[in-house]
């Protein structure tokens, strides 16, 4: 299971300007809808907020992995966003979040997406990868970084 199968190059949004967590999620979801990656932006947003309500997906070190099972997608999709200014995601370490991976998965699939969540959280533990993601200039570079990190990790 490769990350690159699920991250679309049209779903990489660099240096978006938002002021808080909800706006960040909203922006990314809207952009995904514009790229035709999801079908029902409103529904998906609600589901992501609902999951955040159960517990923040800010896992520390400036990373958040919000996600939801939803009928708005037909397959697992991942969007990546880098925020211009970090926002508070409610993570315990208080580091503002600048790197966000947003996942949507169909309601009837669970296995793949638990694996992808774990894979992302594991890869992003590496300081080097996070630093490089913060500096990447293009979407293509982001994809290459992730691919490389994934290759080393296997």
């Amino acid at each position: 299971m490769r990350l690159l199968e699920y991250i679309n190059k049209n779903a990489i949004f660099l240096d978006i300007e938002v002021h808080d967590k909800n706006e960040a999620i909203s922006e990314i979801v809207e952009s995904m809808a514009k790229a035709h990656l999801i079908q029902n932006a409103e529904e998906f947003k609600k589901e992501v907020y609902e999951r955040e309500r159960l517990g923040s997906t800010g896992i520390g070190k400036g990373i958040a992995i919000p996600h939801a099972r939803t009928r708005a997608v037909n397959r697992l999709v991942i969007a990546f966003a880098r925020l211009k200014e970090g926002v508070d995601f409610g993570a315990e370490d208080d580091d503002p979040v600048r790197l966000i991976f947003l996942l949507g998965t169909p309601v009837d699939t669970v296995g793949d997406y638990l694996k992808i969540l774990a894979k992302l959280s594991r890869l992003l533990k590496e300081d080097l990868l996070r630093k490089r993601l913060l500096k990447a200039k293009t979407g293509k570079e982001v994809l290459e970084l992730l691919e490389e990190a994934e290759g080393q990790n296997c």
Binding site: Q39, G55, R71, A91, T109, V110, K115, L117
Partner: protein, 492 residues
């Protein structure tokens, strides 16, 4: 044929049919057509050489099979998705079916020169789309459609058979009693509709009560109860002169929406039953037809099939959907998913049993139309969807790593939680963490593997935990997981 040999043949046919479904998936031939083909091969004209021309038995079997298929179809229907398409689906299932029958009948009369009554009878027989065929094709792995096309098409096909049954019975009545006024059929129709819907709903409610109250001693008896219930619903409704098919579909829909104990296992079981019924039905219908008798009707059959596919169905769809907002492309695709299936073949046995003339001709003609429709439309739906640009990325069906049914009277949820970076919980055994009693880590996802946690399992940063817990305990669990290893100095 001796008893053992008969059993052996039947068993081999069923097993081979199931295994061959794998092949049909690969080549995009609808599975049901394959079953039909096997039936024809096993039949009198094929190498199997089994002689079977018992129309009554085929009809009974077809009816029972269809009841189970419709029930399972209703059960698996996503009611939330369906709700938005109820009105267009009802328009298609009533007015759409009526127009299809009428236009096809007209065509047969003018093109083939059959008499009016007979032409309209054939039109009525082939007027409904087939739930078994549509479910099978749309739920196969090759087809992805944009919302809300799939729920619309499934709901239409699940609910339009009663109309076709009604039109067929009505036409037979008119042929047998030429003096009968056409309008006398209207109350009959309403009666079928209302009794069918009402009983279907009531039987579903009743079933939920029973299954939630009665504690059966053996787990295995619950599916048996559902098995009997479907037949009970059908038979009771039919006996009270309602539409049994509509009733079982309705029961399935209501049960699919509600939660009750043993629901998951029941859905699985009924899914299996629906498959078995499809195999049985199509095999039987394959046996019933004599391919050698199909050849003489091939020319006419093809003509009527084309008329149905290219004129009657599109016209009916476009007219029925006028009040609704669908794009031309969407209507085009809806027209194309007008698969005919077992219902027309089962209905084609009605005139036989009613003792009308020309019934073998009608049966063979209908059979040919159905095969043409399934072959032509069933195999090209993915292509058409792409051409009309209403296809959607495919859903990849995967198994759940674990299954979750919300137990009665317990407010539990299954949530995935991260072990955050720098969490104090990382590096500790689950046992040491002091999770609340009713808070269970059911699964750990780590390194592309799932780990079954035990008390001595050590958590790592970045683990994803699938947690079963009540809302209150979830907050406690989160606190434990989110606690930082070293406290930062204040303000740092």
């Amino acid at each position: 044929m001796s008893g053992e040999l008969l059993l052996l043949t039947a068993a081999v046919i069923v097993v081979v049919s199931v295994l061959l479904s794998k092949v049909s998936e690969r080549f995009g031939v609808p599975t049901l057509l394959l079953f039909l083909g096997i039936g024809m091969l096993a039949g009198y004209d094929g190498p199997g050489g089994i002689y079977f021309d018992n129309a009554r038995m085929a009809q009974t079997l077809g009816t029972i099979a269809l009841a189970y298929i419709l029930f399972a179809g209703g059960l698996e229907t996503d009611v939330a998705a369906v709700r938005r398409v109820v009105r267009p689906a009802v328009a298609l299932a009533t007015f759409g079916v009526f127009s299809t029958a009428l236009i096809t009948g007209l065509g047969i009369h003018y093109l083939l020169g059959h008499n009016w009554m007979e032409s309209l009878l054939i039109g009525a027989i082939v007027s409904s789309t087939d739930a078994a065929a549509v479910f099978a094709v749309l739920r196969s792995k090759n087809v992805g459609l944009k919302e809300p096309l799939r729920p619309l098409l499934e709901l239409e096909s699940g609910s339009n058979d009663p109309m076709a049954v009604f039109l067929t019975i009505g036409m037979i009545a008119l042929i047998r009693e030429p003096a009968r006024p056409v309008l006398s059929l209207v109350p009959l129709f309403l009666q079928q509709l209302i009794i069918g819907l009402a009983l279907g709903y009531l039987m579903a409610r009743f079933f939920i009560r029973i299954i939630n109250r009665v504690k059966l001693d053996y787990e295995g008896l619950y599916p048996v109860l559902s098995l009997g219930w479907v037949l009970l619903t059908y038979a009771l409704t039919a006996w009270l002169k309602g539409s049994g098919f509509l009733a079982v579909y309705m029961t399935g829909l209501v049960l699919g929406k509600e939660s009750f104990s043993h629901k998951k296992s029941l859905i699985r079981f009924q899914d299996g039953i629906a498959w078995l019924m499809q195999i049985l039905m199509f095999l039987t219908l394959g046996l019933l037809v004599f391919p050698s008798q199909l050849i003489p009707v091939a020319g006419q059959g093809l003509l009527v099939a084309l008329l149905l596919i290219l004129v009657a169905r599109p016209a009916a769809v476009f007219i029925s959907l006028l009040p609704f907002r669908f794009s031309f492309r969407e209507k085009h695709l809806i027209s194309w998913v007008g698969l005919r299936g077992s219902v027309p073949i089962v209905l084609a046995t009605f005139p036989m049993l009613a003792g009308l003339d020309q019934t073998h001709f009608i049966f063979n003609l209908v059979f040919f139309i159905v095969i043409s429709s399934v072959l032509l439309q069933g195999t090209t739906i993915p292509l058409m969807a792409r051409l009309a640009r209403v296809d959607a990325p495919l859903v990849r069906q995967r198994r759940y790593p674990i299954d979750f049914d919300n137990p009665e009277g317990m407010d539990l949820q299954l949530v995935d939680l991260f072990v955050p970076y720098g969490s104090e919980a990382a590096g500790q055994q689950i046992l040491e963490l002091g999770f609340p009693r009713d808070c269970l880590i059911t699964l750990i996802s780590r390194n592309e593997k799932f780990i079954m946690p035990g008390g001595s399992t050590v958590l790592e940063e970045g683990d994803v935990l699938l947690m079963l817990s009540s809302p209150e305990n979830l907050a406690v669990a989160r606190e434990i997981l989110e606690k930082r290893r070293e406290e930062k100095p204040p303000g740092g």
